[in-house]
Point group: C2
Chain length 288, copies 2
């Protein structure tokens, strides 16, 4: 998926968010935002959003000299999500269709995305849960249900910290023994890494690997050989979030994308309104 000029405004906002996370010094914040703008004004914008975001956030980490600007935010989001788990797990246990309920909750967790918003609080997450439980999904439920019933191996590409606790609920329903969870290979935005997988206890119940890349998406060609092998070999691939969608959709892969439409660029690209909850494959490129 090609990026839009709208993505640039988002990158400038992300650079300000990150600047504020790493320093309280206004002059230093200004320097970071200026440097990112200068860099953006000089670099090609012909990449997909995750590729440019990867470069922007590398630049941000270089300028700020902070290896993981979002570390504290991610820890807070993991803790917040973990606090919700007992209540959500009870909801799944009481549901007529536990897999559907866990899938809905997993998509609800996709609201924890610092690429889209400068702050995500518990109120936002609770609103997202209500939305996920009541609003329809656009997608291929029965196909997803059948594929997940038949699959011997499921590769689950996680998206963000905090959200990964919600993913745990779905993985518990899918059957952790056949699932491999993939996280990013290094910090970028608030995307989940091994640190976050450990924070929500995923390695205790399933296999977790990192993809070897610091892109906020899955750029297969730069992922580790192990990830590439597993991606090709898995009976089923589930990819959470916009970043994985932006990097993997329209390339002929049999991937179930599970995400909320959270920005106008994606909304235009898939031809669906903001807020839409999507569970479907996009082997060929959508509209744009």
């Amino acid at each position: 998926m090609k990026m839009s000029l709208d993505c640039v405004t988002c990158f400038v906002r992300q650079s300000l968010d990150a600047a504020r996370l790493v320093t309280h010094d206004l002059a230093a914040q200004e320097r970071i935002v200026r440097d990112v703008m200068r860099w953006l004004s000089e670099h090609g914008l012909e990449h997909s959003p995750p590729v440019l975001a990867q470069l922007v956030h590398r630049k941000l980490r270089e300028i700020s000299q902070v290896g993981d600007p979002y570390a504290a935010v991610k820890a807070r989001h993991n803790a917040m999500a973990l606090d919700l788990l007992p209540e959500l797990r009870a909801q799944i246990a009481a549901a007529a269709d536990p897999l559907a309920m866990a899938t809905r909750l997993a998509i609800a967790g996709n609201v924890i995305d610092m690429g889209m918003k400068s702050m995500v609080e518990e109120d936002d997450v609770r609103a997202s849960i209500r939305h996920a439980l009541t609003e329809p999904f656009v997608g291929e439920w029965e196909y997803y249900r059948a594929a997940s019933a038949a699959a011997k191996s499921i590769l689950y590409l996680a998206d963000n910290a905090g959200e990964i606790a919600f993913d745990r609920l779905l993985i518990e329903q899918l059957g952790p023994e056949r699932v491999t969870v993939v996280v990013r290979g290094a910090p970028v935005l608030n995307d989940a890494t091994l640190v976050d997988a450990h924070a929500v206890g995923l390695p205790d119940i399933t296999t977790v690997i990192d993809n070897g890349s610091d892109a906020p998406g899955t750029l297969l060609t730069e992922c580790s050989p192990e990830l590439q092998h597993q991606f090709a070999a898995a009976d089923m691939v589930i990819a959470k979030g916009q970043g994985n969608f932006e990097s993997l959709s329209g390339r002929g892969h049999d991937v179930f994308f599970l995400f909320k439409v959270k920005c106008p660029v994606i909304a235009t690209h898939v031809g669906l309104p903001m807020g839409t909850q999507i569970l479907r494959q996009y082997r060929q490129a959508p509209i744009a």
Copy 2:
């Protein structure tokens, strides 16, 4: 009022909006956004938001070689607002307190602000009207009522095109014979100029002058001598919108500011939530 780094993200978004208004050529749009970002990365950010916005929009007009990127948008907003006037005028005629009703409608029109949003449609305006008729104001109603009853001369600093049709309703209630309406001296953003004052028929009922400046606010020292004289001599000054607030508040002037809080920077500055409708004087600087 000092600007925030948040204003920078807004300027980048405005540059994209303006780029899309002046050309459909994606490469040209990209060039405009790049050039504005480079310019922003190299210039001092220590000004008030209207001063920097003035410079950014001069740069935008220079790069795009279009003297008034928002001309078509402004014409559309004027026409949209004029269409609403008969209905709104009837509402004022039927109101127990016509001045209060006209003031509420004037603040409702302040939603037509392309500095804040990339698009404003009739639905937004109707929602803003409903909000203005039902939500409380923060302010000094009785002082405003007394001042407007006593004033022999009222200087009314207009804000945006479209909105200026709503201002006409309030000016009709204030008594057009003692009002002088001030518009911007040259195009900037979707701010009202003499063209817009004529479009809504203001010169037929009252005196309209331009302030001699292309800032999206009122930077007194660079306004025309006539404006400066009238500002000093008027019994009462009413200033619409955030731009006039940003440039005139906290400087010891007796100005009634009438605006909606539409951005987090202003919300923090005045210590009131987004969406708040304000009618009050800020002789001294608010919180920030």
